[in-house]
């Protein structure tokens, strides 16, 4: 088998040494280790197709992985097999400023994309301070939430090329027609693209994606508002979003803000002491024309809303010096070096789901209750609320720092995450991206949806070779 793999991608792109296999057997989650028997690194679509054809003949599971940074367990080979590491496919195939889109391969990192877009006065619609080395394609395909809720859409993915689990090549949306420019996702036939999103690599291997980009603002102003409790953030955000205010808009708890801002670990303690429990960040950004005038009318409206809620949006919270420029810099230039989420402990175990902002505080209470019961310091629980689609829904995320080397901590946090997730789901939290243990919790509640997904999977992947053991497959 190894010979066949070497024939497809070249000997140096097939790895099966213990060290490499160990690296791909774990990730940032507490999911059990799963070992592949090889890691292969194709360089183009043709090689990916050959790998998939090979996997169908040998009935070998294939697990696509786009970068070396994994926070969800999606790339752990649940049933062994071969990891298809796509990091060599890292070209930005096109930047189209006129139609505001970029065509990227799976190995393109957030940092690479952001830097390239800068030259065209564009920016990517990235999630909350992504790991600079994480794959931008995977992030969009796996529906990580965008930081900017001002657009009606929460899905920057447009059109894509996919190697189907049968080895056939398929192109979605208007890109299926070589005359077109790939700007429209629907068709050919039906909205196939939707069936590849959130699929955790079970429906095929995406080899390029057209994603929306937006103008990089020339002028911008960040405002910060401090809150004692999450509940109080919701109504002002509803109002701001209804009036189309601002670009980035999100809420971070004290612990998350402190992690983000503590570029120097020495600052962490002081930040924890100075920051409010919750900080709402709203960036007013100028459009390409008359940018300052846009910021001015938006600021006036912001102050009106703030007065109604007795808020004082300012350039900082907790007296933190230079917060506005620090935040804008972090938003526009993805940082090098250690990832902010692992500054406090070697991992951050996360729970995230979709809900509406008026329900967020109830879920937060639950999370804090569980954290206390499991003996955690509730000040060290991260909370992130991301309004979506003009505030009509939100992504809510809790994070629990966890030392991966500490067996008892792993066990404690692992059990907390599972039990709290169950409770949240019982209470209506919608886990749209069911990774790891969430899959069973979610799919057992939705028999018809699950049955239909299984039917589809049989059509797409008759031999069950693409990332088996994930979702309900």
């Amino acid at each position: 088998m190894m010979k066949e793999l070497r024939d497809i991608v070249g000997a140096k792109n097939v790895l099966d040494d213990e060290q490499t296999l160990a690296l791909y057997s774990t990730d940032q989650t507490l999911n059990p280790q799963k070992k592949p028997f090889a890691v292969v690194k194709p360089k183009n679509t043709a090689e990916v197709q050959k790998l998939v054809q090979w996997a169908n003949t040998t009935l070998t599971p294939l697990v696509p992985a786009s970068s070396g940074v994994h926070f969800t367990g999606g790339t752990l080979p649940a049933q062994g097999g071969v990891i298809v590491d796509l990091s060599r496919m890292n070209k930005i195939l096109e930047i189209d400023p006129l139609n505001r889109k970029a065509k990227i391969e799976p190995g393109v990192t957030w940092q690479q994309l952001n830097e390239a877009l800068k030259e065209h006065d564009q920016m990517a619609l990235n999630p909350l301070f992504p790991h600079p080395q994480a794959s931008a394609l995977t992030s969009s395909v796996e529906r990580e939430p965008m930081l900017i809720p001002k657009y009606e859409y929460a899905e920057p993915a447009l059109t894509m090329e996919v190697v189907l689990p049968t080895g056939d090549l398929f192109v979605t949306g208007s890109a299926s027609d070589a005359h077109c420019e790939g700007a429209y996702p629907e068709g050919p036939g039906i909205d196939f693209w939707r069936l590849f999103l959130g699929a955790q690599g079970t429906m095929g291997i995406i080899t390029w994606l057209n994603v929306k980009t937006e103008y990089r603002p020339k002028n911008q102003k960040a405002f910060f508002m401090g809150f004692d409790c999450l509940e109080d953030c919701a109504d002002p955000i509803y109002k701001m979003q209804r009036r189309h205010l601002g670009n980035e808009c999100f809420v971070l708890s004290r612990f998350m803000m402190a992690q983000l801002l503590a570029d120097d670990p020495k600052d962490f303690g002081k930040l924890m002491a100075d920051l409010p429990n919750y900080t709402l960040v709203l960036v007013l950004a100028g459009a390409p024309r008359r940018p300052l005038e846009r910021i001015a009318y938006e600021e006036e409206a912001l102050m009106e809303i703030a007065a109604d809620f007795q808020l004082q949006p300012g350039k900082t919270v907790g007296g933190i010096a230079g917060l506005e420029s620090t935040m804008l810099n972090k938003l526009r230039n993805l940082s090098e070096g250690d990832h902010w989420k692992t500054r406090f402990a070697s991992s951050s175990q996360e729970i995230f789901f979709i809900t509406t902002m008026d329900k967020a505080a109830r879920y937060e209470d639950m999370a804090m209750g569980y954290a206390a019961t499991y003996g955690l310091n509730i000040n060290e629980v991260g909370v992130y609320m991301q309004p979506l689609e003009r505030g009509r829904a939100c992504h809510l995320q809790f994070s629990f720092p966890c030392e991966l080397e500490d067996e008892s901590e792993r066990e404690n946090i692992g059990s907390l995450v599972v039990e709290l997730s169950k409770q949240l789901i019982d209470e209506g939290a919608f886990f749209t991206r069911p990774y790891g243990p969430w899959a069973d919790m979610v799919y057992r509640r939705s028999s018809s949806y699950t049955a239909m997904l299984k039917e589809l999977k049989k059509i797409y992947d008759p031999n069950g070779i693409m990332n088996p053991g994930k979702l309900c497959f």
């Binding site: 398929f170 009036r243 409206a301 009509r392």
Partner: protein, 522 residues
């Protein structure tokens, strides 16, 4: 037993089954009723529509719809779900024993969540009805040029391209949770409905998004069962709580408050210049609607009768003054100051791009009477004004730039097939969407309404579609024809195995409006 007697017995058996399931009064097989569901806005016998349905049934709710569809499966008879039946091209029977599932008893708005901006509706709710409720709450939903009297679910499962889609979203993204009876009679709940049948606020997942099976660039033409409940997004709206109307039909005007809404009509020398202007407007992230209407649209929507249409056509008011004009409606979502800001930006763009305002008299004809039809269309039927019907040769969605070439190809076809295509002045409709991220182009025109001429033209249209497909052109008018098109296009664009596989899985008895969306056995 004679063939007729056998048929009669079977008819009675099916009738009994429907009546038992949904009540005697909700099952119709009398000629007066069934004949009303036969034919479309083109003369009959287009696309093989040669017979009335055998039954028209009116279930109430998901469970009754499920019962009806299960009965169709038991007897292996085709059914067609219809909304307001405006796209009757695919909503009329094309084979014997068809059952029309009419949604007349499913008109409830179950919920409007004002804070979280969505409504949960049944298939009979029209877009006008949802809009009226939304306005009261400072919210909005779009309406296609077919008019706001279209079923909101029908419009969303079909195409749902509308003016305000430029800023407030197009139909495929408006669709949130669905309750959907599949062709085999199973109930599928998608999005957050999959976890909680009472909460449809979120559309996708869990995991891969099964909304993907519901529609494509054009709808599934009733080939994937019937949606009985849908949660749809609503959008922020800075307008009045009641749609403003002055006057009496057909001479109404609608003027929205000037501190929050302002139409500009800007004329260019060429289509290319007009589209360049549309790009600049999108790039500046201003406006709520950006439309380049063809001159036939101006005349269609303006005229109150066929006579007035042709008189107006000969006067050439719109051809001479609004050719290559773009209508831009600025919306003050944030405040009146937003409108003032956007006005300044727009003026800069007009100056830079060499645009000229259309003449005041023309502006005053169009804007108060008809421009707001692109926010709430109350005059869609006027598209039939000129000749009693209309056709389109090119419809495609990609970049704005791509639309130019497409509509220009459309002109050539229009010339080639004229008559029966009537005068239409290069019918190029181009709309900007998602702040100009993509554009939609369409060539619509009036056509002589007689069976022979249209039959001949439809034959040519199919020939043209075939030629397009052979040349790898996917995004033309084809998808609007449903099964006949997908049969040709699916192998070329490599979705035949997947689409046929899906159809086979959900429709084992091939009962959901065959041959739509594709015939898996062909």
């Amino acid at each position: 037993m004679t063939e007729k007697a056998k048929n009669d017995e079977r008819h009675q058996q099916i009738l009994n089954a429907f009546q038992a399931a949904i009540g005697v009064e909700n099952v119709k097989d009398n000629p007066a009723t069934v004949n009303a569901y036969f034919g479309d806005f083109l003369p009959p016998k287009m696309l093989g529509m040669t017979m009335p349905p055998e039954f028209v049934v009116l279930p109430n709710g998901t469970m009754e719809t499920q019962a009806v569809i299960k009965i169709c499966n038991r007897y292996k008879i085709p059914f067609i779900p219809v909304g307001s039946n405006q796209w009757s091209l695919t909503g009329s029977p094309n084979r014997p024993h068809t059952v029309i599932i009419d949604c007349k008893r499913m008109g409830a708005i179950h919920e409007i969540d004002e804070k979280n901006m969505y409504a949960v509706i049944e298939p009979l709710c029209t877009l006008a009805q949802v809009q009226a409720e939304a306005y009261k709450r400072g919210l909005y939903i779009g309406s296609p040029e077919a008019s706001a009297t279209a079923s909101a679910i029908g419009g969303h499962v079909f195409q749902g391209m509308w003016g305000v889609g430029y800023r407030l979203g197009v139909a495929y993204r408006n669709i949130l949770g669905l309750e959907w009876v599949l062709p085999n009679g199973e109930i599928l709940r998608t999005g957050s409905f999959s976890q909680d049948a009472d909460n449809g606020f979120w559309g996708e997942g869990p995991g891969p998004d099964l909304r993907g099976m519901l529609r494509g660039y054009a709808g599934a033409m009733g080939g994937v069962g019937m949606v009985t409940k849908m949660a749809v997004k609503l959008h922020p709206y800075p307008g009045p709580k009641v749609w403003p109307v002055e006057g009496v039909i057909p001479n109404q005007t609608s003027v929205l408050p000037e501190d929050r809404f302002k139409w500009h009509m800007v004329k260019y020398e060429s289509l290319e210049d007009a589209v360049n202007f549309m790009y600049e407007v999108g790039k500046a992230e201003i406006a709520g609607v950006v439309q380049k209407w063809p001159t036939v649209y101006y005349i269609m929507w303006w005229s109150k009768s066929c006579e007035e249409y042709w008189t107006e056509w000969q006067k050439r008011t719109f051809q001479d003054n609004a050719k290559n004009a773009v209508g831009v409606c600025l919306w003050g979502f944030t405040s009146g100051k937003q409108l003032e800001y956007e006005t300044r930006v727009l003026e800069d763009i007009i100056k830079e791009t060499g645009g000229k305002p259309v003449k005041k008299e023309v502006y005053d004809m169009w804007v108060p009477h008809n421009a707001n039809d692109w926010i709430r269309d109350t005059h869609g039927s006027r598209m039939m004004r000129a000749s009693g019907t209309f056709l389109a040769l090119r419809l495609q969605t990609d970049t704005l730039k791509y639309s130019i070439g497409q509509v220009k190809t459309g002109y050539k076809w229009v010339d080639k097939f004229s008559p029966p295509i009537l005068d239409s002045d290069g019918p190029d409709w181009i709309g900007g969407y998602d702040f100009g991220h993509f554009g939609f182009g369409e060539t619509d025109f009036p056509v002589e309404k007689n069976t022979e001429a249209i039959g001949d033209l439809m034959g040519k249209l199919m020939g043209m579609v075939k030629e397009d497909v052979t040349n790898g052109l996917e995004n033309g008018v084809g998808p609007f024809l449903g099964g006949a098109y997908h049969q040709m296009a699916a192998p070329v664009f490599k979705y035949d195995k997947l689409l046929k596989g899906i159809k086979r899985a959900i429709d084992p008895n091939r009962v959901s409006n065959p041959p739509h969306q594709i015939d898996p056995d062909a």
